[in-house]
């Protein structure tokens, strides 16, 4: 009975393996001399581009006040129910402000919906990705941890505006 030739049968050259090894090694060699992508974290830190979605933070104006007017839309849209806002009245022109603003970082999924829905550009995704907690309560960030000076958030805000 004649042996049927299969499509996958190796040619003689292939059976010798040597050219294939050379091919593979040359790829390795090529990459060895290319610039590296890995970095020695945490000694060396990754600085993400403006499009990166790190933990959401509240924008603090130069005068130390928050932009947020406690409308509650971020809290409503948040698919993970991570945000709790309690509004109250203030003497400022925009009569409403958040007495309490908490994001539960264990719930947050970094989707950025809160940033997208905010009518005041008051909550934006920062570049902070270092989130580790030893206690559940520590993961609930209040206004003290959320308020970030607007100057530090400049490139994210510019990025957002360029896509409006």
């Amino acid at each position: 009975m004649a042996v049927k030739k299969r499509e996958k049968d190796l040619t003689l050259l292939e059976k010798m393996y040597i050219p294939e090894i050379v091919k593979g090694l040359s790829l390795t060699m090529k990459n060895m001399f290319k610039p590296k992508f890995t970095m020695k974290y945490p000694e060396e830190k990754f600085i993400p581009p403006a499009s990166y979605r790190g933990r959401p933070v509240l924008v603090m104006e130069e005068n130390g006040e928050e932009r947020c007017v406690a409308c509650g839309l971020c809290s409503r849209v948040c698919p993970a129910l991570a945000i709790e806002v309690q509004a109250a009245e203030t003497e400022r022109e925009k009569e409403r402000y958040p007495v309490k603003f908490e994001i539960n970082m264990l719930r947050c999924i970094f989707c950025g919906f809160c940033e997208e829905v905010c009518p005041e550009e008051a909550i934006v995704m920062s570049k902070d990705y270092e989130l580790a907690f030893s206690h559940r309560e520590d993961a609930i960030y209040g206004k003290d941890k959320l308020l970030t000076p607007v100057i530090q958030l400049k490139d994210r805000i510019e990025f957002l505006r360029s896509y409006k």
Binding site: S75, A87, E102
Partner: protein, 560 residues
């Protein structure tokens, strides 16, 4: 009945009815701001424009009376075009205030802007500015920017509250609302304007900024402020009542409720001085104990007194079920001294809604037998008995006898035994020997009978320790559905409290005669079986709007 055609559908109407009203009676809502079923027609918002065949121009549905054979289109190209144009005009000067406006989420302008407008503004000029944050009265705040000059609030004050307090001033795009010189918007019904204001121009100062409407659950129940028993909704977030709004019931309160009911009848539910768990007086102080201990002690102490040394005091604040169990309990012990305290304030009454009887259920308490049996003492007799030391033990539910009769406070402290079922530490509870934590009206199922003899249902809105929102059929907000015990916004306090009938039932078992019921509904079935006035009624028949019992109405029925 005559008929006309609305969007291709034949609709019957009563002669003289307007198109918008006839449509509403058939469940079709024609968009409107200024029109309100129970107010006069103003016809100034123009959003209800409809196209009528054979009419040269569009007509407003709120003031055009329907006629036999009329053919009306609400969604034709012309009608839609007009509506969009009206919306565009209204939005020219309306600020983009939704993020800071409390009305957001229940705002007619927001809803219509969503469904009937272009979605983009062509108006690039500076908007008009008017006064913001103007207190019109003790409870109502006005925001001139947001007002769309529909005049509903003015008509409400003139026609329903019968107190001309508000008026328009200035003209054209400068027109705004103000109170007459020297006047305040302080009529007893003032807060209703915040409900009917189609935008957030009038807001409730007691509720402003406290919560978003979409974060609360709305629970249908009854106001306990007076014997009218207005139908209301309790708005709850995180197990805390934040506001009350009226609910339509043509037989009782139509669309309205009074400010007293709205402001003063819910804050005690989440107050600091709530009784949380049973308490017993030990060495002069009320100490929290387990239910078992309190029940055993109450039972053994009660047994020590002769029948005529004990008095039971029911309550017109408690439900039919609570009072019924109290009566059964007293009769099982053979006690004849049983009555309840009346709370009448004649100056509170008016001929709109408010009644001089400040309790929600005095007709009901009497009907289930909270009155002295043959030879027993009524409330005056009981009070004298306490003073003369003939009455040595008193069991009081859901009321405050020491506050009602201040001269009695010391005598009460000297009683051999005072047991109270109290919601809060009030004057009587603070001198009691045993305090059982009573559930408030917002935490229990039950029924009240209002002054008309109408039986209406209470439904729980706030959960106690023994309730689970989902399993016990309480309304659930979005937050209730998804919150876990690790979320701070889901940790609202639950009090360890029970309806008085449950406490009495548990105590009866401890005493050796078993008044056993599983649910408030079972108690009511027994009441309906044994009391002619309520025969044929059950919770389903009563439903959300109540049902008339065979009780004679208290005096004449004052209608609005």
């Amino acid at each position: 009945m005559p008929k006309f055609v609305l969007d291709g559908k034949e609709i019957e109407f009563k002669p003289g009815q307007t198109i918008i009203q006839a449509a509403k009676d058939h469940g079709i809502t024609i968009p409107h701001f200024c029109w309100h079923e129970s107010l006069s027609v103003a016809g100034n918002c123009r959003v209800c424009l409809v196209e009528i065949e054979k009419m040269p121009k569009l007509a407003i549905a709120c003031s055009t009376t329907a006629a036999e054979g009329m053919v009306v289109y609400t969604a034709s190209e012309k009608a839609l075009g007009a509506r969009n144009a009206v919306m565009e005009f209204l939005l020219i000067n309306h600020p983009l205030d939704c993020p800071i406006c409390d009305e957001a989420g229940e705002c007619k302008l927001q809803d219509y802007a969503y469904s009937h407008s272009a979605g983009e503004s062509r108006f690039v000029e500076e908007k008009n500015h008017k006064d913001k944050r103007v207190p019109l009265g003790p409870y109502v705040m006005f925001d001139g920017d947001r007002c769309i000059s529909c005049s509903r609030c003015i008509r409400f004050c003139d026609e329903i509250a019968k107190d001309n307090e508000l008026t328009f001033v200035k003209r054209g795009d400068r027109v705004t609302i103000t109170t007459f010189p020297g006047e305040e918007l302080d009529n007893p019904y003032s807060l209703n304007v915040t409900d009917i204001c189609p935008v957030g121009a009038l807001t409730n100062r007691d509720f402003r900024f406290r919560a978003r409407v979409w974060d609360m659950s709305a629970n249908k129940t009854i106001c306990t402020g007076c014997s009218r028993g207005c139908n209301i909704e309790l708005w709850v977030r995180n197990n805390e009542i934040l506001r009350i709004t009226p609910r339509q019931n043509e037989e009782v309160n139509t669309f309205w409720m009074c400010d007293h009911g709205r402001i003063n009848t819910f804050k005690f539910v989440n107050a600091e001085d709530r009784v949380d768990g049973p308490h017993i007086r030990k060495e002069g102080k009320l100490v929290k104990v387990e239910w078992n201990e309190a029940l055993t002690q109450a039972a053994s102490k009660l047994k020590k007194f002769a029948k005529n040394e004990i008095a039971f005091i029911g309550s017109a604040f408690a439900t039919l079920e609570d009072n019924y169990l109290l009566v059964k309990f007293a009769h099982s012990l053979g006690v004849k001294n049983i009555d309840f305290i009346r709370h009448y304030i004649p100056s509170f009454a008016d001929n709109i809604l408010r009644r001089e009887d400040m309790t929600p259920n005095s007709l009901g308490a009497e009907a289930v037998g909270v009155k002295p049996s043959q030879g027993g003492l009524n409330i005056d007799g009981i009070i004298n008995g306490i003073k003369e030391k003939k009455i040595k033990a008193v069991y009081l539910i859901d009321d405050d006898i020491a506050a009602a009769f201040p001269e009695l406070e010391e005598e009460l402290a000297k009683l051999d035994l005072l047991i109270v079922n109290a919601t809060n530490i009030n004057k009587s509870a603070s001198v009691a020997d045993i305090v059982f934590p009573a559930a408030t009206y917002a935490e229990k199922n039950g029924t009240f009978v209002n002054f008309q003899g109408r039986v209406q249902r209470l439904k729980p809105a706030v959960a106690t320790v023994e309730d689970d929102r989902a399993l016990d059929g309480l309304e659930m907000s979005r937050l209730d559905k998804f919150g876990t015990k690790f979320d701070r916004w889901a940790q609202g306090h639950k009090y360890d409290a029970k309806s008085s009938w449950k406490i009495l039932s548990a105590l009866s078992i401890e005493m050796g005669f078993k008044l056993k019921f599983n649910m408030a509904e079972d108690v009511f079935s027994e009441i309906a079986k044994n009391t002619k006035a309520f025969s044929g009624l059950d919770y389903d028949v009563i439903g959300e709007l109540g049902a008339q019992s065979k009780l004679q109405p208290e005096e004449k029925i004052i209608t609005t």
